[in-house]
Point group: C2
Chain length 477, copies 2
């Protein structure tokens, strides 16, 4: 007599019969590192981890999963912030890590394009582009560990969006394995192609729910030969936004980053005691880290000096980095602040956007509401304000018990999102929805949007096997 096998055991038997042993693992120690993402907030063990080395192996895997109705979640660098890539389906999920598909297939400096596999680490792709004097402009803190498939799946943003756009704007083509294992080949490097529906757009930003991206063709730019980085102190967020309006007009589309930091951010970086000093001669309420970049025949230094020298009093003080090391130190202030803002513990991250003209009003109203309701919390405010994008994070006081902390996070998020709603903003500017923002998303999305999204999910993944329960709720069965 045979023992009755659970669905999980049946799934593992099917996978074991289909896949080569070297790409399938259930080893407890090994699968541990696929069980938790970079936030540390989400943990669940996968049924198994599959690490395919080719699109054919991903296809084989998905054919098997489709036949046996096995749930799958694709994983890149596990740097996402909304809990989408860690297993969560109640019956268990198989993790497909793309990490072994990490080749830069080609870089073409005439076409300004590159083709990379989904598991390629962003920084390595950037370096490969640089070697041929090209720029892959996706730039953000996690670039040393995030992978391009994940950047595509989340439509990653970052520092340079105001000049070069989101990841969506840089994707020329995709290769995708569908839920039933068929391979959709849209891996083209054409800059203009109006042949029928642009299917690749659906996969970009869909957080792994519609297909598994296995390779990406990207648009590149000339690698700037000059970069000028400056940090300036201002009296208010209003003044920072007035400076932004001038910068857009006077820096001739050469502005590549415009990062707002409130004074508290600078203090966090200094307090981290990693050798960073107050960057200007005295404290200012608001700082902007701005960068311009250009190719050959522009005197960028003169342009930036001229611009910052004629701001009609908006800029109270400032420093323009005189070399790359100084520029790196200015950026380091921001990095250290991001890394240490949570004092090593949990904190509430938000990632909201409003129309650019509403930034100052949004910041003022939400800081006032938070200060009134939760004077005990530390609020850290910064963001890519040239895109209308603010990260307003809430750090609990030291020693707060976990339950109180959860209450604080919920209450603070409600306060921030209420202000966002009043400004016609978005509760997720660049991080996505995943599971962390799902409740807030579903509460605000209109019924027609959700219906159309569900129809697309049904059209692409009729058995709901891919990243089920992210963005859209788990399907009732």
């Amino acid at each position: 007599m045979h023992a009755v096998l659970s669905p999980q055991e049946l799934a593992l038997t099917a996978l074991g019969a289909t896949l080569l042993a070297e790409i399938l693992t259930q080893d407890d120690t090994e699968i541990e590192r696929y069980s938790r993402d970079g936030t540390g907030d989400h943990y669940a063990r996968p049924l198994a981890v599959v690490r395919p080395r080719s699109v054919e192996e991903v296809s084989l895997l998905m054919r098997c999963c489709h036949e046996h109705r096995i749930h799958v979640v694709p994983q890149g660098g596990l740097t996402g912030l909304v809990g989408a890539a860690v297993p969560s389906f109640p019956g268990g999920e198989v993790v497909v890590s793309l990490e072994r598909m990490n080749t830069v297939r080609s870089v073409n400096p005439i076409d300004f394009t590159m083709v990379v596999e989904a598991g390629c680490i962003l920084e390595e792709a950037k370096r490969a582009a640089e070697e041929l004097d090209c720029l892959l402009p996706i730039t953000f803190g996690a670039q040393g560990s995030c992978r391009l498939g994940g950047n595509v799946a989340t439509n990653a943003g970052g520092f340079n969006v105001l000049r070069y756009g989101m990841t969506r704007d840089l994707v020329l083509g995709l290769e995708v394995v569908l839920a039933d294992g068929r391979v959709w080949n849209g891996l083209r490097t054409l800059r203009k192609d109006n042949r029928g529906y642009d299917l690749k757009q659906l996969f970009i930003g869909s957080e792994g729910t519609l297909g598994i991206v296995t390779a990406v063709a990207l648009k590149l730019f000339p690698r700037p030969t000059q970069v000028e980085t400056a940090l300036v102190g201002l009296a208010s967020v209003e003044d920072a936004m007035a400076l932004y309006a001038r910068a857009r007009r006077e820096c001739s589309d050469l502005l590549s980053a415009f990062e707002l930091l409130l004074r508290g951010c600078i203090e966090i970086a200094i307090d981290a005691q990693v050798g960073l000093e107050d960057p200007l001669s005295q404290p200012y309420p608001v700082y902007v880290l701005l960068e311009t970049a250009a190719g050959g025949r522009v005197d960028l230094r003169a342009l930036v000096e001229d611009f910052l020298g004629h701001t009609d009093g908006l800029v109270l003080d400032g420093v323009i980095a005189s070399n790359r090391a100084q520029a790196a130190r200015l950026w380091r202030l921001r990095e250290v602040m991001v890394e240490t803002q949570g004092r090593g513990g949990r904190y509430l991250r938000t990632d909201v956007s409003v129309p650019i003209s509403s930034i100052a009003s949004f910041v003022a109203q939400s800081l006032a509401a938070l200060a009134q309701a939760h004077p005990e919390a530390r609020v850290v405010t910064y963001g890519h304000v040239g895109d209308g994008n603010i990260h307003m994070n809430v750090v609990p006081p030291l020693g707060m018990p976990p339950e109180t902390m959860d209450d604080l996070f919920h209450a603070a998020e409600d306060i921030i999102f209420d202000v966002i709603d009043r400004h016609g903003g978005s509760i997720s500017a660049e991080h996505g929805i995943g599971r962390v923002k799902q409740k807030a998303y579903l509460k605000r999305a209109d019924a027609l949007t959700l219906e159309l999204a569900s129809r697309i999910k049904d059209a692409f993944d009729p058995r709901h096997l891919l990243s089920e329960g992210r963005i859209l709720p788990l399907r009732d069965v």
Copy 2:
């Protein structure tokens, strides 16, 4: 006894009972101008023409059409080149002209955004942006009569794509009436918004087959305060593309147009006898019309002079316009060539793209093949080569009988598309598929792409009432 009504008569009765008389017309004279598009190649009378004044009226119309299964085709400025907007469904189609919904709702020079109704003429939207010192960068020949809903539906390209992207890259939000009359409200002006699937992407470039765009939110740029226009003569397409590679690197992302014209194009413009003279002191095989644009603090004139003065012999001769009138005259060469290339008769238009590095090879191979097979035809070659986009048009000899002409067009198109296939290119870079390119598209598209596209069509327009038979074939019933 009542006469039995035809489906067409029933449709008209239902529309008459639903819609106000002032927006519905069946008047023979009036509907004539909705029966033919700008190419003159397509003609069919609509069942009726509806000219709604609001999204509510579009919604009411579509509810009625959905209930009574009436086929509908949305129309903008009728400037499309692939026969998508003229009635074509065998049982007859109702035209929905958006021309009365032509308001510029708002322009925001801080956010660099504008909101316009779908029937707004592109040039009027551009002018409204300019009044607030902003630039709406969509630019092409038909801008004086095309309408923004059509630009979105076709993902329009044009001269400035290499710097500012296609229409898709400029759309921040849409309002769309679905096939069943429900209104999808995605009319946002946020620059970053990663909340779930980006549904608006589906409507962009879908040629009216998935919904009727009624309003658009667009991304603007600072209006350039300096523009430099130059026309240069070169020895070959290879040299033109080498110049492009340098221009991208040395003009610091300030290059806004790079138009290739073979010598024949210049001759067409001169022969048109509208007062245009040979622009350089002697003829050259190849010309490039290039434009750079910048805001405040760049000496653009010096940059362009410096760039064109150091091309290591690539540029054989050239002129930089010294004022706006001179610049307009240089552009006029191109416009007149486009307008008069067909000698007032029919000609074959193509709109193909290849990777930028393949432009020279594509042009050489297709011109050689055409010259060998059809020495009687005149081939006109020009294009937005900075995007890899070439228009290679075939003009029949004077007096060729219509049947021979059709044969020539088919044969010439096959020759050009064969070379495109060998270069991994696209048979439609910016014009779309519509009906004109449908056969060539369906022949080349893989089965999975067509299946996914059909699933999307079914999800958004289950009764197949909207622009049926464009892009995808008519559904078997």
